[in-house]
Each structure stands twice: as structure tokens, then as C-alpha cells.
Symmetry: C2
Subunit: 191 residues, 2 copies
Amino acid sequence: MQLLEEAIKSRGTVYPGNILKVDGFLNHQIDPDILRAIGEEVYRLYRDAGVTKILTIEASGIAIAAICAQFFNVPMVFAKKSASSNISKTVYKTTVHSYTHNRDYEVLVSKDYLKKDDVVLIVDDFLSNGAALTGLIDLVKQAGAALAGAAIAIEKSFQPGGRTLRAQGVRIESLAIVESMDDGNIVFARG
Amino acid sequence: MQLLEEAIKSRGTVYPGNILKVDGFLNHQIDPDILRAIGEEVYRLYRDAGVTKILTIEASGIAIAAICAQFFNVPMVFAKKSASSNISKTVYKTTVHSYTHNRDYEVLVSKDYLKKDDVVLIVDDFLSNGAALTGLIDLVKQAGAALAGAAIAIEKSFQPGGRTLRAQGVRIESLAIVESMDDGNIVFARG
């Protein structure tokens, strides 16, 4: 997606440890035009997939999920990272490893909001090692729901998440695929 | 806002401790029609306020902020609840008390995304004791930015947040105001 690739090139910053910082337009401050374009493109890709629910994980997936839910006109659900007294006691749970923070955390979705007749589209801002996406897929499986696939804003294809999950048959559509970013030089994969 | 009040009545649940659970349509699963209507109404209320930025706090304010940012066509920023290695080291910080979890937490916004020429509209899902809103206002003040006001989906007017902050001159527009919910009977304030 050209608008997103341009924003990554002009407004993204590469830090040591394969960190691509896009806080200026995607996951701390969020650009309204880029967000709308992401929603449009995800809808174009999955409009015929029968999606009944958008699923993401807090916090940086929520804005993307919210805009996608507007295009699909279906509810969105965000998985919560820790138990809350405001949440139903009947939840699906899984464990996700955060490479950024180097720890495991528990992720929850209420059983009320993922049902076996749902067709779920998972959306997230990044796909690197695939930990969050693997956890979200596990929640969909626990619910007995169908998985339409995943829509990711930025995939780092030099990390194994996308390759591993596609090999398991998961449909993954990434709007910008970073093939390498050695010495801060961001190179995108071409279709 | 009628659609929101109807959803609170039909899909909300009152729990002991003045907890109003609206996880089914506002802050775990999010209804796309209600979210769109919130965005429209917030835009109607603040369209002439010169808003340049929408500010909220993770996680349950993000979807509302994202839709509002679409209507205003300005960037949104969400304050983060803990330090992250993915965030700039130059941040505005404040401390917020969570009554739900009964603890204090630190809230951060990068100095890159709140500037002194910004006119900021704060949005959030709930206003009860006003802790989160007070913290967000503090971040706006630290940045030297102007505060257009706050837009809140659900205010509990029997708790002191709204009264206290309005007395300080803050413009607060709440789309549904719950006056009481004794014995699970939700009563809305009438303008």
C-alpha cells in the first residue's frame, strides 16, 4: 500500500534490535488519512470472506480494528492483556510472549463476544515473530469460530512470524512488507 | 444521545460498587453503529472549536478517539500506561489513580505529538471520579497546548469527576449521563 510505505520511509525510524518505530502515524499518534486508507484496503482484500467480527489485541491494534469494523460494518473485539474486574469471568485465555518487553502475558476475550458461528478477521499493526497473531488465532480456535485470515499493517518478512503461519495455512495480508532494514535502509518486498 | 442510552439500558449491566458494564458494545466488543454515532455527535458538539488533535488513554478510549479523529480529520494520540522501549525518551508524564484496579499508574505522551500550538479534544469512554481526565488535562497543560474540552461517552454524574472539572472551567460534553443506578435501575439525567 503506497501511502503506508511512503509514511514508513519518510516518518519511520529504525532502531537497533530490528525495531521499526512508527509512533508518529500508526501506534502512538495515528494519522487519520493513513488509518482510513488501511481500513479501505483491508476491506478490499477481505470483503468477500464473510467476516462477522474483527479481532485485535490491545493497545496498538485497536484503532486499526475500529476503522476496519466501520468498513465491514461488523463488531470489533479487542483481546485484553490482563484480568480486569470489569470483565466477565467466562473468558478464553492464551499466553503471548512479548519480544519488545521480553515477558509473557495473558490475553483474554470474553466468551460472550467470540462465538462458533463467527467468521473472524484478525487485524494488528505489526507482524514480526508472530506471537500476538498466534495467540489471537488460538482464541479463535478455542471459540470454535472460523478464521477468515489476518490483515497486518506492517510485516517484517525477515522475522519468522508470517512465514510460519502461512505455512500452517493461515491467510495473511500485509499492507507493507519490510524485507530488510539493515543500517536503517528500509527495503519493501515487491508482490 | 438516544442510541447510546438505549444500548446502556438494553445491553449494559450494573454490578456492585457502582460498576456499569458496557463490554458488549463499548469497551471490549465495540458496536460499529454506536461507535459511528458517537463520532458524529462529538463532531457536532466540537466542530467549531478549532480542534487539531484528539487525545485519549489506552485502551478503552482508543476506538472512540479513532472514530472522532476520522470525523475531525485530525491526528489522534493515545497516552500510554507504562514505559515502553518503543517510545521516545522525551515524554510528558503524569500519574493516574485507577479506582477499578485500586492502584496508581504512570501515563505518558511523547513530546513529539502534543505541541503548544495544538488545540486538544480529550475523549474517553467513561467519566466517574475524573482521574483519567485529570491526568490527560495535566498532559495538555505540560505541553502548553490549548484544551478545547472533553467528550465522554458515559458520565456517572453521581460521582464527582464531572462536577469538579466543570467547576474548574473545563468544557465537558457527555453523550449519556447516568444520574443514578441504584438496584440496577439506570436513570439518565435530562438536559
